[in-house]
Symmetry: C2
């Protein structure tokens, strides 16, 4: 379908002549139909593909640093990342969690107002910011997608403000668990009447605390409170099963 050129090897800007990377990564991309590149046509995809490259990140690896020049932007293909800032006295606040198909980075901006770090091993599709911006300006369809995604992100971020500003620790935890259950590809087994959901947590207790504006001790206590009430189960440090979704929703208020 794609005519000439596409089967030629892609040469990355750094690589040697031996680099024989396949022409079009996007074709087989897991988020092809959900990311901002979704409604580009084949030729556009090819062009975009030629300015981007894939990059694997280990859990804990930093993709961008708070305050640094914003050089990159990226689409997340797989994994989970966090955006975070710090107060001057070193407390961290996680500003958002990034899931597959989400876009990260600050196009049309000089410096990155937050750091970006992989929470689990991840795969991203990165672009030089300048390249991406040029491409975006030439392709209004892409910019439109980006706008839509940004507007959605803004809505979600604002909802989080309500959580941070006005909810109790218990409400915060309950709300967050429900959001995780919705956004993660979590396993739901309906047995009996209730649907039980198993969540794999990519976040440590500390990171949970940093998302919710709490301390690690409070997170631990609230979680175990919910466990003792029979609302959740904690089979392992990084696993969590929702036993009674209704009760959890009630606590989310």
């Amino acid at each position: 379908m794609l005519g000439t050129g596409l089967d030629l090897p892609y040469i990355s800007r750094m690589s040697s002549a031996l680099d024989t990377r396949p022409a079009n990564f996007c074709e087989t991309c897991a988020v092809r139909n959900r990311a901002i590149c979704a409604d580009l046509d084949t030729a556009e995809i090819a062009a975009l593909n030629s300015i981007g490259r894939r990059r694997a990140l280990k859990a804990g690896e930093q993709l961008m640093w708070e305050g640094d020049e914003a050089i990159l932007v990226a689409n997340v293909i797989d994994g989970m990342l966090k955006l975070a800032t710090h107060t001057s006295d070193g407390k961290e606040q996680i500003l958002g969690l990034i899931y597959p198909a989400d876009f990260v980075g600050r196009p049309f901006g000089e410096t990155s107002p937050y750091g970006v770090e992989a929470l689990s091993d991840s795969l991203v599709c990165v672009f030089e910011r300048k390249d991406f911006e040029r491409f975006a300006r030439e392709h209004p369809r892409l910019e439109h997608k980006l706008l839509q995604r940004t507007l959605g992100e803004l809505d979600r971020t604002r909802r989080w403000m309500l959580l941070l500003g006005r909810m109790s620790a218990e409400q915060k935890i309950a709300t967050f668990l429900l959001e995780l259950a919705d956004r993660l590809p979590s396993q739901t087994q309906s047995h009996g009447g209730e649907g039980e959901t198993l969540i794999y947590l990519s976040l440590s207790r500390q990171q949970l605390a940093d998302v919710l504006g709490l301390t690690i001790e409070t997170v631990s206590r609230q979680l175990n409170g919910l466990r003792k009430s029979g609302i959740i189960e904690i089979p392992g440090r990084r696993e969590l099963r929702i036993l009674d979704r209704d009760a959890l929703e009630a606590r989310a208020a």
Copy 2:
């Protein structure tokens, strides 16, 4: 520069065949060069002008309701508005303050995730959301501006998360006063060596509390604490003078 019509009275779209609506309100618009319409050319401006109308809002008047269908979007020409949501138990959280040249509303969305209310008497330029969307899709330059503004708003919103999640009451108040001093057209008189800034507050104590995720009593105490420390002066309920900006910055941490 735009010839005829500018001196004719404005007649809304509901009007009769006698409608001799002036071609271009935008020409004289106070935010002409700062709002998202800034870099449209004359013809585009005229087209945009034809689908928008001006509307004056009294302080306290609601422009959109939380959860309602998102029918309108608007540019703010003058005044100050708030975006707000509520918890199920009725506590309010202000999600953002809107200043002149800012854009409000949720294009490409079905319902408005927050309410919009004027804090002071305001003047806005409203569009039917559908009309605006159509126009935006046909004018990538406008969409680009909107994208830029949305990205900026997202950055600001995320900075607010740090305040809500991790700052003490005193830090919140100090940070907010500094932000007001920067964003408001406030009067600065440098006398002696220090620059003193007079801020007119469009917000009641309750609204201040709702921005910062505090209670009204805490706001009052913190404000009077700063006053007793000689950092600010409170000449009237709605006025506030920053006497010692450095000290305020220190408290904002």
